[in-house]
Symmetry: C2
Subunit: 366 residues, 2 copies
DNA sequence: AGGAACGTTGACAGCGCTACCAGCAACGAC
DNA sequence: GTCGTTGCTGGTAGCGCTGTCAACGTTCCT
């Protein structure tokens, strides 16, 4: 009877055990591995816990068990729509599990990422989700040495640290360009912002596709390190036009830029797709609502987050996936903005319903 | 010498203390209240910690001190742009502090919020940020009873639980309508989605302004419980037009809807603002880039999040703000989409509205 | 029947840190 | 000189839980 009972009605495991008529350790087991208890004790502990409104003390649990039930998530941006979809998937998957999400923002800096990684690892997380495959050597070493499962998301590549889920931005960009060529467009510009590694790989895909077609010209590429925005799309497009007035299509590294290009075309009274075709990337919701509807490359962001968290939790609990690297693929969603060249110069003003009819069409991939 | 040293080179406070030649408790104090140490010991502990690469064990700290350094954040949506800006502010403010953010998504359900609140409170957070002022009675009681600072964000109202930061959605909507009236628009429709409490209060503001002008008609209001989207903006506007073909303006409860209305106008070849004026809400980035540029009500979302977290941390550390309720106000950003009915007049600069916080900006561009 | 194997339960000893209080030196007030 | 007072330091005793291992009863096998 060493310990005095805590004054306020604070419910500890000991209280639950007492009410249930079992030892504290048995009650403890109930919460971690109910199957290990006999049915009789299990129900007794269960009802005792419910009656007292017991909530386990996570700090004590973490201290005693030498591990936490925290999943660390490192993403480069909180405001980018792409990541908010991924995050939603992660949070949805973690809900109902015992794990909680600890989120940190690397702001597209791999040095910041390294710093945060060190911080996270020191707290022995149950698992880790990191963005992309471009880490510092030091970060990579820490990840390799970490004794928890790790999922890299957003893209796939060689040498996964552990698990990996994403798609090939390179292939996706190539598919977008292939689509434009199929529609008869030849002089295709590239507009990109931020130029993080994934955007860079989209650019690489664009370059390779253009070179394959014998159409590559460095002057067709306009990029900036500035963070992306709709306004920026218009500005970059303006630059592109000043350099190469006779382009017939623009591949935008993301949808915000594509929307900016569309507005800039409207401002300049350039017909889309009559004079210039537009293709975006990610297929955000507004792409299907725009006039004309905007072609984009659909990426499965929500699913990516959800699957990543699910894989991670499974791995934490010892159920490692048969497939540690998962390619979620992409789809080129063909819409009005990239339709064949010969169409008249007015944008197709069609019945509201017709716009979304073009959805579908898996491409070279997936 | 009771305890054996942990086998692997795990650095505990005891190791730091030993190297520094002080007792563990003195080393502990160094991390919590360095000023309490003599300068000599302070520097000794500091260099010892650095030399060993000591990282405190947060679980042990939380267990021993009976409190955590976690700030709980409850928001209704992870994908809504509005909240991602707020979140960014919160994360930015928490960075560099000792506090970490624990985020949960209520999905616009106050029952879910209550459940999450119970979960959070059980872990004794250092502070709490909750969205809005509409909680269940039970939630409110828990918040009142919580022994940590609490900030309600996104809006202001009577009876703050503790601290509060936001603005009046009601006044903001009234200001938007006042602006439309100043520009000569009379038959103003309302388009709203999701209809969460804050959107509802925007609707209330709209209704009151319209009634003041003697122009209110229930048929001018089109709403749905469906989550918002650009596409939905077009659909709701279509409904509105079918009911009231001769409206001359639309006030949209958010910018996504406004963009959808703009596209729908384009699809139907309705001139904006010639035939129909459009006003949105929140002033997302794309509003200034659209063609025509779209008028909106600017809200200080990033600042709201940042200030909320800063106030909260200050309160946790005993520096309570002199002003527990902070009204961040709003601004009607006047752009082309709402300019005066006659085509030759340019957007006017006006100081409209009831709220003294409100400042109308000149503009058409940002 | 005897023993092994299994399933179930409990006792004990911490996990790494901090709250609390006691101790000690240095200093000023009387 | 004595007494408090202040500033700094250390010892003790947990915080609430779980890992480990031992002990027990039961079942199954030979």
């Amino acid at each position: 009877m060493g310990r005095k009972r805590t004054k306020s009605g604070k419910i500890r495991l000991a209280e639950v055990a007492e009410l249930a008529g079992v030892s504290p350790i048995t009650a403890s087991r109930f919460f971690r591995n109910p199957e290990a208890l006999s049915v009789a004790k299990r129900t007794r502990v269960e009802s005792a816990a419910k009656e007292l409104g017991y909530v386990p003390n996570l700090a004590a649990r973490a201290l005693a068990s030498q591990r936490t039930e925290v999943i660390g998530v490192l993403i480069p941006s909180l405001t980018n729509n792409v990541f908010s979809d991924v995050l939603r998937g992660i949070y949805d998957a973690s809900e109902g599990s015992r794990y909680s999400i600890q989120l940190s923002n690397t702001r597209y800096s791999i040095l910041q990422e390294e710093k945060l990684l060190r911080l996270f690892l020191a707290q022995k997380p149950a698992g880790l989700i990191v963005t992309g495959i471009d880490q510092t050597a030091e970060s990579r070493a820490m990840l390799q040495a970490a004794d928890c499962p790790i999922v890299q998301i957003m893209e796939i590549g060689p040498d996964p640290v552990d698990m990996m889920i994403g798609f090939s931005h390179y292939d996706a960009a190539r598919a977008a360009i292939a689509h434009l060529f199929e529609q008869g467009h030849r002089k295709v510009g590239f507009v990109g912002a931020r130029m993080d590694p994934r955007v860079q790989r989209r650019l690489d895909g664009y370059v390779s596709a253009m070179k394959d077609a014998g159409s590559f010209d460095q002057r067709l590429v306009v990029t900036t390190a500035t963070p992306t925005s709709v306004t920026l799309g218009g500005a970059l497009f303006t630059d592109l036009l000043a350099r190469e007035p006779d382009i017939d299509a623009v591949f935008c590294a993301n949808d915000d830029l594509a929307l900016g290009v569309l507005f800039e075309c409207r401002r300049r009274e350039i017909a889309v797709p009559g004079q210039i075709a537009i293709v975006g990337f990610n297929d955000l919701e507004f792409m299907a609502a725009a006039v004309p509807t905007l072609t984009s490359v659909r990426t499965n962001r929500y699913e990516m987050g959800k699957t990543a968290a699910t894989m991670l939790i499974d791995a934490i609990e010892g159920r490692r996936p048969e497939q540690p690297v998962l390619d979620l693929g992409f789809k080129v969603i063909e819409r009005q903005s990239s339709s064949a060249r010969r169409s008249d110069s007015r944008p197709a003003v069609s019945a509201a319903g017709a716009a979304n009819k073009m959805i579908a069409l898996p491409s070279s991939h997936d």
